[in-house]
């Protein structure tokens, strides 16, 4: 029996994808719309559909804790994304040198991504605790004057979260960049070497610029990890000494679920979405336009 020469029904692929597309559309965009409506409503303990205009947003921007959360998100976002990308790229470049134990090293660097943020947060909480972790170890080894109390210092606890986050994500970034580097045509490199370019110069001028698409997709993934950071913060500092390491995600959770202020939480979530969209959408637009 020979296969039919005409293509199968063209509507079949669309039919198969339709359920997941519909579910995705409803559960993502439908719920975003519902959340948007809740942020304009008087919801407190349970959803309540009475329209109150922008009152929740006014409350939100007068809330001191929300200002701290937004500031923290800016600092954490920049440091975490920048740090993870830089460290990941460095590791990828170093691993690209065709060293002997490359397979083993690659696995070792990628392992942190396999554990959940809760495990990462808890382990780092123990390691960074002055009485149990690094400082205690240094004291036991004889360095009595060593202090590393960042975790219990309201001003510095955020950097501990940055450290734990970079540790977790750098391996993933490394894997993406390594794949990108390996995908570059060897002949360009050889031509540059014939022209007398040194290795650092080749990397800086040729290979890294040609990684632009990889850079773009990695940035998307890492930024989404940064915005989503709820479990890492909860496990590591639970919002920090007081609320010093509060992020918009933990703020929203506390308001909406612990304090019976669903309207305020929904407003915080909408502001988070707007912030993310303000950064991602122009970048997306410029990248996709450039490719076309």
């Amino acid at each position: 029996m020979s296969a039919p020469s005409t293509a199968p029904a063209p509507w079949l692929p669309r039919l198969v994808v339709a359920p997941s597309f519909l579910l995705g559309f409803l559960f993502i965009y439908g719920l975003i719309a519902w959340n948007g409506y809740l942020s304009l409503s008087a919801s407190r303990l349970l959803p309540n559909y009475e329209f109150v205009g922008l009152a929740q947003y006014v409350n939100l921007f007068e809330n001191e804790r929300f200002h701290v959360a937004m500031k923290n998100m800016a600092i954490f976002g920049v440091l975490f994304v920048g740090g993870a990308m830089a460290l990941g790229l460095l590791l990828a470049v170093l691993l690209d040198q065709k060293i002997r134990a490359e397979g083993v090293l690659r696995t070792v660097y990628l392992y942190p991504m396999a554990i959940s943020f809760i495990v990462t947060g808890t382990a780092w909480k123990w390691m960074l605790n002055p009485g149990l972790g690094l400082e205690h170890l240094m004291h036991r080894w004889g360095f009595e004057s060593f202090t590393f109390g960042w975790l219990v210092d309201p001003d510095k606890a955020l950097y501990c979260i940055v450290i734990a986050g970079i540790w977790q994500s750098a391996g993933f970034v490394m894997a993406l960049f390594l794949a990108g580097l390996r995908g570059i045509d060897e002949s360009i490199v050889k031509a540059a070497q014939v022209d007398g370019a040194s290795l650092p110069r080749i990397y800086w001028r040729i290979l890294i610029p040609s990684l632009r698409p990889v850079f773009f997709s990695t940035l998307m993934v890492v930024s989404h990890l940064a915005i989503k950071s709820f479990d890492l913060v909860m496990a590591l500092t639970a919002g920090g000494p007081g609320y010093a390491t509060d992020l918009p995600a933990t703020f929203m959770y506390a308001m909406a679920f612990s304090r019976g202020q669903i309207g305020l939480g929904a407003a915080a979530a909408t502001v988070m979405l707007a912030t993310v969209a303000a950064i991602v959408v122009p970048y997306l637009y410029s990248e996709l336009r450039a490719r076309r």
Partner: protein
């Protein structure tokens, strides 16, 4: 390709139908009671098991729904999703003004029939019975009475430092200095929102007295929140911080109690559930640990009442089981067994307290006395006094003040007034 897709279509339809039937919720058993709680630590879990045993002896099945987390945050989140989806449990561990907030949403069941049959109005002090009612009808059953304004001390640590267990705040700081000199951490503290506030409200009660406490922290009077007494309270509160250790941020309450049990720390300002930890570690009241009222609060009683709010159920058989649960909770046998394990005292008045230790007996006597004298005050740290939104905002301010040494007392008072306005 078309032939394959046509043949597998009926198969796909059958698979979908099977999946659909498994997704529909399995019906609950008729005499099953599903109870949501967060009693997961040592003494607490034993106490919850006592309730389960009492019910199962009466022929009902207990479906446990434990969600860990000391303050009950996670449990409340799970409860909201269950209620919104129309599948509420029979009972949930809800207390304080939250009971009225839930009742306002129209999801709690009227328990007046059980209350009349079991004579609840005669067995409970009025101030507590009112907290369990909405528009005059009972909607929740109380389980116990915790006293929050306790000071737990390790007598051996005090002997080593040559200090006396304090009864006033001045004595407290003298003792703390002595403990510090002897190399013992004076105050064991866990740096969490509710623990910071538990300490704060004991300071407020001790420095300001019961009337100030009621006016400033329960009625949220702005003048009291900004006055001279509040200034003194905040200054004393900040002084207490200097006697805690550096590693306190994030520490759980039972780990702080463990520090006192082991003698690493001298004192802890914590409610009487800490006694459960001492007992579980095999320590004896009076010998291995000492319980006194927090400095300056010997004649006041900050109460924290655990209660189960009962949800509206559609199935009459499950309603009957739920009513049996409410009756059992207020029954004398359960009240005794549960509270022996939990470290609290029975909320049912007029019970014989022979099996309870000295700390509990003192607590019960003070409970009856303060109910008459009017210095029986609700605990804000444990959600008994103000609605969750304002409570959370006030806790934020106090925690910030505790953690951030640069915040001035004046700034803290302004923020307290603003936080008290949160709805």
């Amino acid at each position: 390709m078309n032939r394959i897709s046509r043949r597998s279509l009926p198969l796909a339809a059958v698979a979908l139908a099977a999946l659909a039937t498994t997704l529909t919720a399995a019906p609950a058993h008729a005499n099953e009671v599903e109870v949501l709680h967060w009693w997961t630590s040592g003494g607490e879990a034993k106490a919850a098991a006592a309730l389960k045993a009492s019910l199962e002896r009466k022929g009902f099945t207990w479906k446990d729904f434990a969600v860990a987390g000391g303050g009950g945050d996670s449990a409340m989140t799970v409860l909201k999703s269950r209620v919104v989806s129309g599948n509420a449990p029979a009972a949930a561990q809800i207390k304080g003004p939250s009971i009225q907030e839930w009742a306002r949403e129209g999801v709690l069941a009227n328990m007046d029939a059980v209350a009349k049959a079991e004579k609840w109005d005669e067995l409970l002090p009025k101030v507590i019975a009112d907290g369990l009612k909405y528009k005059g009808n009972y909607v929740a059953a109380p389980v116990n009475v915790h006293r929050v304004n306790w000071l737990w001390a390790n007598p051996e640590a005090f002997k080593k430092a040559g200090a006396k267990v304090p009864t006033t705040w001045d004595e407290f700081f003298t003792a703390a200095e002595a403990l510090k000199k002897a190399g013992i951490i004076p105050v064991a503290h866990g740096g969490q929102n509710w623990q910071d506030f538990t300490t704060f409200e004991s300071v407020a009660l001790g420095v300001g007295g019961a009337d100030f406490y009621k006016k400033a922290l329960v009625q949220l009077d702005p003048a009291s929140l900004k006055g001279a007494t509040m200034q003194k309270v905040l200054e004393t509160f900040r002084r207490v911080k200097s006697y805690t250790d550096r590693n306190s941020p994030g520490r759980d309450w039972n780990l702080a109690t463990a520090m006192v049990i082991k003698g690493e720390a001298g004192m802890q300002l914590m409610g009487d559930w800490a006694k459960g930890e001492f007992v579980a570690a095999g320590k004896q009241a009076g010998k291995d640990f000492v319980c006194v009222a927090a400095p300056g609060t010997a004649r006041s009683f900050t109460y924290n009442i655990d209660s189960f709010a009962l949800f509206k159920l559609k199935d009459p058989a499950r309603q009957k089981a739920q009513q049996e649960l409410a009756a059992t909770i207020m029954g004398a046998e359960f009240q005794e067994l549960f509270n022996l394990n939990k470290g609290s005292i029975p909320v049912r008045m007029g019970m014989k307290l022979d099996k309870f230790d000295d700390c509990a007996k003192t607590s019960a006597a003070d409970f009856a006395a303060t109910a008459k004298s009017g210095s029986l005050v609700p605990s804000i740290a444990h959600g008994m006094a103000v609605p969750p939104a304002a409570e959370g905002a006030i806790k934020d301010v106090v925690s910030q003040f505790w953690n951030d040494d640069k915040m001035t007392v004046a700034a803290a008072m302004d923020r307290l007034v603003a936080a008290a306005r949160t709805k």
